[in-house]
């Protein structure tokens, strides 16, 4: 070995004094839009899981996170990112429905154990949580799904203003599929729907043009789809994840689209109910509204014999006698009801159940179910409210449905800010338009515009049709001159509830107004009429706060043979009635099996 060979290894030592060519830690800062580790604004995130669904690498899983509660509109889950799988493509950020997810430009994280390279962004604190730089969803106009809902064709206000014909035309196949295509299938809406309908599943069926599958999904939880597809309060749409950065899915109209496509004579074939087993148990249901109809439908499928007793001459309850025809045509109610009847449920009309009849039902049937709703209008009880031309909205709506002629003067004031108030406002506006060629309705409510309980579109459409909606006033008195109503005195309402959350309106007596009227309609809520319950039973039934009958999770009262559901228990709205009836059917079946 030569001297040179011996010295060569030592030459390497010379490198120690040279400037290194490698980068030192901390390394170079990422570019401003560099895609590095995730950040998540966990208060904005709703745990819809779209980030997980789009991730090709399965790098994201949805996990419960500390301090995040599962509630309406929020699954309580948050994404956990596994950096053994993530490729930093950023699709999860781009698809995020709320815009909560982003990437920081931080790109170095050194640890020995690969299993440690995962965390829940926003929950597990990281040094890059506060960094501004990094990849964000490019806004505006950059979305993976349509932000605007497919608009629904409606008759123009001038065209519909003097007619009770249904004015919402319904989606065509192309429109329905286009709207369905906006759904991200997260399923956040299902928990909020009182009936827990399979919403993502039926929307998917529309997308796949499989109407029969859509029908099966609908009837799994809702036997009144034609009705609900038109007038449901669509609480599902309030929590739709797509609604955070755009219009929520038009879930209600999509449901209507499915039901509208199927003719009545196909129902049994599609829903596989041509033959159903019938046992010997008998159930009497009082009131042919949604709660009873729904209970009867599911009880029939369980093999029970149902008889519904209805006071009026047609079925539907508040759906027929409370909701005007322009929103819910009667033939659509008939379509849903006829199918339920075809499965063996008998509806006996024009039968008023009183205490004696009630006891008779108790003797002759295994179970009695009451779903008699809220049909007694509440009065404001202000001075003058006992005048003969002060009406209850619920009475007028029923009389309009029955074809009776109601009083229609040129000037009407409606008191109330809910959907029923809008229904009577718009019905009277139509009748005035027919009679006088012009509209003269003023509707006023305690609630300010922003917190009116009526659906937004109801208020907008009522205005389009010429009614004046003037919210935020508290009624004081009705002025009467020579026995005739002159109008309504109101004062400004500042707030409705006090600090403890109790109904206790605070009024500014100095801020006054006067609405001229020949007739006043009160529409401030309804109460239940349970005068048919015999006194000896009333003593045995447990009542809860505000006089409601106490029921368990399956709508069984403290008397085991008596069940109750619908508006008198929960709501008021159709979808709660349907959900109650469904749950009660399970409860009744369980009860009968134990008997």
């Amino acid at each position: 070995m030569s001297l040179k060979d011996t010295l060569i290894p030592f030459k390497a030592w010379g490198n120690l004094v040279k400037k290194p060519v490698t980068l030192k830690d901390p390394m170079r800062e990422g570019a401003p839009r560099y895609r590095g580790f995730h950040k998540n604004d966990v208060d904005t995130c709703i745990g819809c899981g779209s980030c997980e669904a789009i991730c090709e690498n399965e790098a994201i899983v949805m996990v419960p996170a500390e301090g995040i509660e599962t509630k309406d509109g929020d699954s309580g889950l948050r994404p956990l990112v596994d950096y053994g799988r993530c490729c930093w493509c950023g699709l999860c950020v781009d698809v995020c429905t709320t815009g909560s997810l982003s990437l920081s430009n931080e790109h170095t994280w050194i640890c020995e154990d690969p299993e440690e390279l995962k965390y829940i962004p926003g929950i597990d604190k990281k040094p890059w949580d506060e960094k501004e730089e990094g990849w964000k969803k490019p806004v505006p106009n950059y979305h993976f799904y349509g932000q605007e809902r497919v608009s629904m064709e409606e008759m123009e206000a001038e065209e519909r203003g003097d007619s009770f014909i249904e004015f919402v035309k319904g989606y065509s196949k192309e429109q329905a599929q286009k709207e369905a295509d906006r759904c991200v299938e997260c399923g956040i809406c299902v928990a909020t729907c009182p009936a827990h309908m399979g919403i993502p599943e039926y929307i998917k069926a529309i997308r796949n043009d499989d109407i029969e599958e859509g029908m099966r999904v609908l009837y799994e939880t809702n036997p009144l789809p034609e009705i609900c597809g038109r007038i449901c309060t669509h609480k599902c749409e309030d929590v739709c994840s797509v609604g955070h950065e755009g219009d929520p899915l038009s879930i209600r109209w999509l449901k209507r689209y499915i039901a509208d496509q199927v003719p009545s004579d196909k129902y049994k074939e599609i829903l596989d109910t041509q033959k159903i087993y019938k046992g010997d148990k008998k159930i009497a249901l009082i009131g042919a509204g949604p709660a009873s109809l729904s209970a009867a439908y599911y009880l029939s499928l369980l093999g029970h014999n149902c008889t519904i007793f209805e006071k009026l001459d047609k079925a539907g309850g508040m759906m027929r006698y409370g909701i005007p025809e322009y929103r819910l045509p009667y033939d659509q109610i008939d379509k849903d009801v006829k199918y339920i009847e075809s499965l063996g449920t008998e509806i006996i009309y024009n039968t008023n159940v009183d205490a004696a009849k009630f006891m008779e039902l108790k003797e002759n049937y295994d179970v009695v179910y009451v779903g008699t709703g809220l049909h007694l209008g509440r009065s404001t009880a202000i001075p003058g409210s006992d005048h003969e031309h002060v009406f209850q909205s619920i009475d007028l709506l029923r009389e309009i449905t029955e074809g009776k002629e109601i009083m229609v003067p040129e000037k009407v004031v409606v008191i109330g800010g809910g959907n029923v108030a809008m229904d009577i406002t718009r019905s009277i506006a139509r009748l005035q338009k027919i009679k006088y060629g012009k509209v003269g309705v003023i509707t006023t409510s305690l609630e300010k515009e922003e917190v009116m309980p009526a659906d937004r579109e109801e208020v907008v459409e009522a205005r389009e049709e010429g009614s004046i909606i003037n919210p935020g006033w508290g009624p004081k008195s009705i002025e009467i001159e020579d026995g005739k109503i002159k109008g309504l005195h109101v004062v400004r309402c500042l707030s409705i509830f006090d600090e403890t959350g109790r109904f206790n309106p605070s009024l500014d007596e100095d801020d006054k107004n006067f609405f001229e009227a020949d007739m006043i309609v009160e529409s401030i809520g309804q109460g239940m009429d349970i005068s048919y319950l015999p006194e000896e039973l009333k003593e045995k039934i447990e009542f809860g706060p505000r006089g409601r009958i106490n029921v368990d999770d399956y709508f069984q009262t403290s008397l085991d043979w008596l069940f109750a559901g619908g508006d008198m228990i929960q709501g008021p709205d159709v979808i709660h009635g349907i959900a109650n009836g469904h749950k009660a059917a399970i409860g009744i079946d369980n009860f009968l099996n134990k008997k």
């Binding site: 745990g47 819809c48 899981g49 997980e52 090709e56 399965e58 899983v61 949805m62 996990v63 419960p64 599962t70 509630k71 699954s75 309580g76 889950l77 956990l80 596994d82 053994g84 799988r85 995962k118 997260c186 399923g187 956040i188 299902v190 928990a191 827990h196 993502p200 799994e220 939880t221 599911y298 499928l301 369980l302 469904h582 399970i586 079946d589």
Partner: protein, 184 residues
């Protein structure tokens, strides 16, 4: 630049001209005209600099898209020339005689997408995938996940929760479908 492209569009059957920016334009050309077009652009119109060549797999349309990027140094102007070719037996005329370095891009595309460039130097030699025994990995019908599972050691995915099912568990357990199934 508009004038130049309009002048060329007839003779080279140029389509879909998109003036993306003041210094960037995209256009489409047919496979049979492409080499002539870029030759003309290089020799007559001053697009002397070749920037890059890329490929996209439009599997639904059964096409590959090749995009040639050229640059005109005097005007600092970029031109992207798109060319759709058949996905089955995918092949394109080589352009290595125009710019020597194109051979490297063509070799990469051959390996990653399986688009052949007959006559291009070294086009059949492995680019980075030595010993590759599957369909070209950038083709969209290549199943990356399956390949990974077959080739590498498995790594279990953490447990996940479906938002809908989780909310049901938390907020409304038990439902009709299950009840009826039990009954049947």
């Amino acid at each position: 630049m508009k004038q130049v492209l309009e002048k060329l569009s007839a003779s080279f059957e140029i389509e879909d001209i998109v003036y993306q920016r003041d210094d960037l334009t995209f256009l489409s050309a047919k496979k049979e005209n492409l080499i002539n077009l870029i030759t003309h652009l290089r020799d007559i119109e001053g697009f002397s600099h070749f920037v890059l060549l890329s490929c996209v797999d439009w599997i639904e349309d059964d096409k590959f898209q090749l995009t040639y990027f050229l640059n005109k140094p005097e005007e600092k102007y970029d031109l992207g020339i798109r060319c759709m070719i058949d996905r089955k037996e995918a092949s394109m005329d080589s352009a290595h005689h125009l710019w020597k370095q194109i051979a490297t891009y063509q070799r990469e595309i051959k390996e990653m997408f399986g688009v052949d460039f007959p006559g291009s130097p070294g086009v059949d030699e492995p680019f980075i995938l030595e010993g590759w025994d599957n369909i070209p990995p950038m083709r969209r019908d290549f199943d990356t996940k399956q390949y990974s599972a077959d080739t590498f050691f498995p790594r279990e995915r953490p447990k996940t929760n479906d938002p809908k099912e989780y909310m049901k568990e938390q907020m409304h357990p038990g439902e009709w479908g299950e009840y009826r199934k039990e009954k049947k």
